[in-house]
C-alpha cells in the first residue's frame, strides 16, 4: 500500500512538467492553428536556460527566481520565432507552418550544442527541498510534493486567464474566427504573438522545473514531443483541464508500467491514446472539430492536368540521364542516387495521401520501416529469397496501413494526424523493445539482394525501375476515376457522399495504397543497405517525409518528388559541415519564407508572373466559377 501511494505521488509529480509543456502546445495550436513541432525545443531550452540561471542565482529564492525567469526568457525566444519565422507564413496553405517549426528545431538543436556543449547536464537539487518525507514508510522526495502542490495553481491561473479575462475571451474568439476578431478592431497579430509568448514560456517553465528530477540534454526536444502531443490529444485539443487529466493519467500509468511491466513503457501511452480516441474521438474533454469552421486560407486549389508533351519529354530525358548514370563510374553517385530515388518514392506515397487525399499522416514512417522490417524479418527468420521478401514487404506494409487506416479514419483533421503518429510510435516501440524477434536496437543485418542483383549497378537499375515505376503508378492513379473520387472526398466530403462516393472507403483504400508503396520504398531500402534499424520507423523519419512534401509543394503533383530530391541532395552536402543542423534549419526557414507555396508551386507562380497573366475577360455573374475556369485554362500542371 505504501509503495502504491509513493508511486502514485511520483506519477503526479511527473505530470507537472508534462502538463506545463502540453498546455502551451494546446494554447498555441488552438489560437494559431499551428502544429508547433518546435515545442519540444522550447522545453529543452527551458532546461538549459534554467540550468545556467541556477548556476548564477543562489539559494531557494534564486532557484525559484531562475524557474520564473526561464519562463520569461523562453517566452521571449518564442516571440522571436513567431515574429521572424511564422508571421511571414500565416497566409500559406494549412499546416505549411509546421515545416518552419521543424527548421526551428534544427536551429535550436545546434545553438544549444554550441552554447551548452554535448555533455548531459545534471540538474541542481532544489534548495530547501532536498530531503524526503516518509509516507507509510516509503520515501517521497519533498520536491515531488512541491510539484504536486504547484500544478493545480498553474492550472487554475491558466483557466482563469482563458475563461475570465478579456484577453482570454479574445483568445477564444480568435480560436474560432480570426478574421472576424480583426474586423471587430482587435489586432490579431499582437494576440498571436502573446499566445506564442505564453505557450513557449510554459514549455520553458516545464523544462526548468524538471531540472531537479532530471537534467538537461540535447535529446529532450524529441523525447518529450510525442508525449505532449499524446497528452493534448487525449485531453482534447484546447482543453486545459483535459490536458491536466491526461498528463496525470499518462504519468501515473507510466510509473506503474515501469515497475510492473517494464517492457511496456514505450508502448503504454500510445495504447492509452488509441483506446481513448476510439471511445471518445475528440479526447476526454475536447469538442468536435467542425470542418471548415476556421475557413480556408489562401486561394482555391488549381485543377491538376496530365503532363503536357514538354513535361513528358523532360521526364524522359531525366530517366535517360538516370539510366546512363553508372557510366560516370562513380560508386558514390550511384549510391546517392539510389537513396534519392527511394526517398522520392516514400515522399510520393505520402504526397499522394496528403495532397490528393487531404489526409495528413504524421506517422508515414510506419509503412516505410514496416516494409523494410517485413522484408528483413522474412530473410532473417525464414531465410526467404529476396524476390519473395520483396513481394511480401509491400503487402505487409499495406496490411499495417489497412488496419491503422481503419482505426484512424474514424477521426479527422489534427486528431487523425495524431492517431497516425501514435500508432506509428506503437509500431516503433514494438520493434524497439522486442529484442528476440526484431533485434531491437541492434536492428536486422545481413539482408542482401539476390545474386542477379548483387552488383551495385544492377541494383541501381532495379531501384530506378521499381522506384520510378511506383511514382508513375501514383501519378497515374491521381488521374484515374479513383483519384478524382479521392480529391472529391478531400474537398467536400458531404457533396462527394451525395454523388454516391463512399468517401471513407475511398480514403481507406488510398491510405492502404500509400502504405503499400511506402513499403516498396522500404523494401528497396533494406536490400540496398543490407540492414535496417528501428530509426527507420521513428518520428523523425515521418517528419522528414512531411517536410519534403510541404517544401516541394502539397498542391502540385510533382511536389513530393521534387522536395525529396532537393532535400536529399542538400543534406548530402550540408552534413559534411560541423553545424549542419543549423545550416539546414536556416535553409528550410528561408525556403519556407520565400516560397510559401512550396518549391514547385512558387516556381510556377514566378514563371507566370514573368510570362505575364493574360488580361481578364469581362466578368459578369459567377465570380467563383470564373476563378476556377480561368485557372484551368491557364495552368499546366507538371
Amino acid at each position: 500500500m505504501g509503495l502504491f501511494i509513493a508511486q502514485l505521488l511520483t506519477g503526479l509529480a511527473n505530470a507537472a512538467t508534462l502538463f506545463l509543456v502540453a498546455s502551451g502546445l494546446s494554447l498555441i495550436f488552438g489560437v494559431t492553428r499551428i502544429v508547433n513541432f518546435a515545442h519540444g525545443s522550447f522545453y529543452m531550452l527551458g532546461a538549459f536556460v534554467g540550468y545556467s540561471l541556477m548556476q548564477v542565482l543562489p539559494g531557494a529564492i534564486g532557484f525559484w527566481a531562475s524557474v520564473l525567469l526561464t519562463g520569461l526568457v523562453v517566452g521571449l525566444i518564442g516571440v522571436i520565432v513567431e515574429v521572424l519565422v511564422l508571421r511571414p507564413v500565416y497566409k500559406a496553405p494549412e499546416l505549411f507552418q509546421l515545416v518552419a517549426t521543424f527548421g526551428v528545431i534544427l536551429v535550436i538543436q545546434d545553438l544549444a550544442l554550441m552554447i551548452w556543449g554535448a555533455e548531459d547536464l545534471l540538474g541542481p537539487r532544489a534548495p530547501g527541498l532536498k530531503g524526503v518525507v516518509r509516507i507509510m514508510d516509503e520515501p517521497v522526495p519533498l520536491y515531488d510534493l512541491a510539484l504536486i502542490a504547484i500544478t493545480p495553481f498553474v492550472l487554475f491561473a491558466l483557466w482563469y486567464l482563458i475563461s475570465r479575462t478579456r484577453i482570454g475571451v479574445l483568445v477564444r474568439a480568435a480560436t474560432q474566427d480570426r478574421e472576424m476578431v480583426a474586423a471587430l478592431g482587435v489586432n490579431q497579430s499582437w494576440l498571436f504573438t502573446g499566445v506564442f509568448f505564453l505557450g513557449a514560456g510554459l514549455a520553458g517553465l516545464g523544462g526548468a522545473i524538471q531540472l531537479p528530477k532530471g537534467g538537461a540534454d540535447l535529446l529532450m526536444d524529441f523525447n518529450i514531443l510525442a508525449a505532449i502531443f499524446v497528452v493534448v490529444v487525449i485531453g482534447g485539443m484546447g482543453s486545459l483541464p483535459g490536458a491536466y487529466i491526461a498528463a496525470v493519467l499518462i504519468s501515473v500509468l507510466n510509473v506503474f508500467g515501469v515497475s510492473y511491466l517494464p517492457q511496456s513503457t514505450l508502448v503504454l501511452m500510445y495504447i492509452v491514446m488509441a483506446i481513448v480516441l476510439t471511445v471518445r474521438p475528440y479526447g476526454l474533454l475536447g469538442r468536435e472539430e467542425v470542418v471548415g469552421e476556421h475557413g480556408q486560407v489562401g486561394e482555391p486549389e488549381r485543377p491538376i492536368k496530365p503532363a503536357g508533351t514538354k513535361a513528358r519529354v523532360m521526364v524522359a530525358v531525366m530517366l535517360m540521364a538516370l539510366l546512363a548514370l553508372p557510366l560516370a563510374d562513380s560508386h558514390f553517385l550511384v549510391i546517392l542516387t539510389t537513396d534519392i530515388i527511394i526517398f522520392c518514392l516514400f515522399a510520393a506515397s505520402l504526397h499522394f495521401l496528403l495532397g490528393l487525399g487531404g489526409l495528413v499522416s504524421f506517422g508515414h514512417a510506419a509503412y516505410f520501416g514496416g516494409g523494410a522490417y517485413a522484408a528483413g524479418l522474412l530473410v532473417v527468420h525464414v531465410n526467404a529469397p529476396m524476390e519473395l521478401a520483396f513481394v511480401l514487404a509491400p503487402l505487409g506494409a499495406g496490411l499495417a496501413a489497412f488496419i491503422i487506416g481503419w482505426l484512424c479514419l474514424r477521426l479527422t483533421g489534427v486528431y487523425f494526424a495524431m492517431l497516425t503518429l501514435a500508432l506509428a510510435q506503437l509500431l516503433w516501440s514494438l520493434v524497439f523493445q522486442w529484442d528476440e524477434f526484431t533485434g531491437g536496437d541492434d536492428g536486422l543485418v545481413d539482408i542482401w539482394p539476390a545474386a542477379w542483383l548483387s552488383e551495385a549497378n544492377s541494383y541501381f537499375y532495379f531501384t530506378v525501375i521499381v522506384g520510378v515505376g511506383g511514382i508513375l503508378l501514383l501519378r497515374h492513379v491521381a488521374h484515374s476515376p479513383f483519384g478524382y473520387a479521392l480529391r472529391a472526398s478531400r474537398d467536400s466530403q458531404r457533396q462527394a457522399e451525395a454523388t454516391g462516393i463512399n468517401t471513407k472507403r475511398i480514403q481507406w483504400m488510398a491510405f492502404t495504397m500509400a502504405g503499400a508503396l511506402a513499403g516498396v520504398a522500404g523494401a528497396l531500402f533494406v536490400f540496398s543497405k543490407g540492414s535496417v534499424f528501428p530509426n527507420e520507423l521513428e518520428i523523425t523519419k515521418s517528419f522528414d517525409g512531411l517536410i519534403v512534401v510541404f517544401l516541394g509543394g502539397v498542391k502540385t503533383l510533382s511536389g513530393g518528388v521534387v522536395g525529396a530530391a532537393s532535400l536529399e541532395l542538400v543534406k548530402d552536402y550540408l552534413t559534411r559541415i560541423e553545424y549542419w543542423r543549423l545550416a539546414l534549419g536556416l535553409l528550410i526557414i528561408v525556403v519556407v519564407v520565400l516560397a510559401p507555396n512550396g518549391i514547385v508551386g512558387s516556381l510556377r507562380k514566378a514563371w507566370e508572373r514573368l510570362r505575364g497573366t493574360p488580361a481578364d475577360e469581362p466578368s459578369t455573374t459567377a465570380p467563383v466559377a470564373l476563378t476556377s475556369a480561368s485557372a484551368g485554362t491557364q495552368e499546366s500542371e507538371r
Partner: protein, 233 residues
C-alpha cells in the same frame, strides 16, 4: 464621411468591382442593391479591407483605408456586420459582446451591454447562453449588437434580412431606424427592396461590379426599367 472612388477589387483573377465609386454622408442610411453576385459583399469587404482593392481609394473622414489592415479600419470607427453573422458560437452572448467592445469614442453614442440589451431584449434573457444556442434571427441581433459595442461612427450591414423570419425583419427595420435617429450612418447591402425602402434614404444599384444607379427611392420608382433590369423583384 465615406468616399469610394475608382475601386477595383479581385478574387484571384476574377475582376469583381469595376471603378466603383459612391459616397455616404453623415447621418444617412444608404442601401446597396443588386442581384446575387453583383458585388455587394465585395464592396463591403473592400471598405473593411477584408478584400484589398487593387486600384482606387476608400476614404473615411479624410483617412485613406486601402493602406490599413482590417483591425485599424475597425478602430477608426467602421462597424462591420458580416453576411454570415459569424458570431462566436463557443462564447456566451456576454462574451461575444465583450469581443466587440472598444473604448468610448468622442461625439458618438457609447453603447454598453445594458443599453444593447434594452435594444435587443431577446438577448438579455439569454446572456449566459452560448452563441450556438441561438436561432438565426437572434444570431443576427447578436452580430449587430456585438458590432455596436465598438461604438461605430459608420455601420456596414451585409444582407441582414437574409434567411430571417419576416417578423424579425420588421423588428430589425425598427432597430435600424432607431440607430438612424441616434445619428448613426448605415450602409445596408440588401436584396430585399421592401426592407431597404423602409429604412434608407438613398439607393445605389450595382450589377457586375458596375454602378448602375445612385439616387433616392422616389427617383428609382420613376424609372421602373432600372428596377426591372437590375433587381430581381
Amino acid at each position: 464621411m465615406l468616399e469610394l472612388s475608382g475601386v477595383n477589387s479581385f478574387y484571384g483573377k476574377a475582376h469583381i468591382l469595376r471603378d466603383l465609386g459612391f459616397s455616404i454622408n453623415a447621418g444617412e442610411v444608404v442601401s446597396l442593391l443588386g442581384r446575387n453576385g453583383a458585388g455587394k459583399t465585395t464592396t463591403v469587404k473592400s471598405i473593411m479591407q477584408l478584400v484589398k482593392p487593387e486600384k482606387g481609394s476608400v476614404i473615411f473622414d479624410g483617412v485613406e483605408l486601402t493602406r490599413l489592415p482590417t483591425h485599424r479600419v475597425a478602430k477608426l470607427g467602421i462597424g462591420y456586420v458580416p453576411e454570415e453573422r459569424r458570431i462566436f458560437t463557443d462564447l456566451t452572448i456576454s462574451e461575444n459582446l465583450e469581443v466587440g467592445r472598444q473604448p468610448p469614442r468622442p461625439g458618438v453614442y457609447s453603447w454598453t451591454q445594458q443599453t444593447l440589451f434594452d435594444l435587443f431584449p431577446n438577448l438579455a434573457e439569454r446572456r449566459s447562453n452560448r452563441g450556438k444556442a441561438l436561432s438565426g434571427g437572434e444570431q443576427q441581433m447578436l452580430s449587430i449588437a456585438r458590432t455596436l459595442m465598438g461604438n461605430p461612427r459608420l455601420l456596414l450591414l451585409d444582407e441582414p434580412s437574409e434567411g430571417i423570419a419576416p417578423v424579425i425583419v420588421e423588428q430589425m427595420a425598427h432597430t435600424i431606424l432607431k440607430l438612424k435617429a441616434e445619428g448613426l450612418p448605415v450602409l445596408l447591402s440588401e436584396q430585399n427592396l421592401h426592407f431597404a425602402r423602409m429604412v434608407s434614404d438613398r439607393a445605389i444599384i450595382i450589377e457586375g461590379g458596375l454602378k448602375k444607379f445612385d439616387g433616392t427611392f422616389a427617383e428609382l420608382e420613376a424609372q421602373p426599367e432600372i428596377r426591372d433590369a437590375y433587381l430581381s423583384v
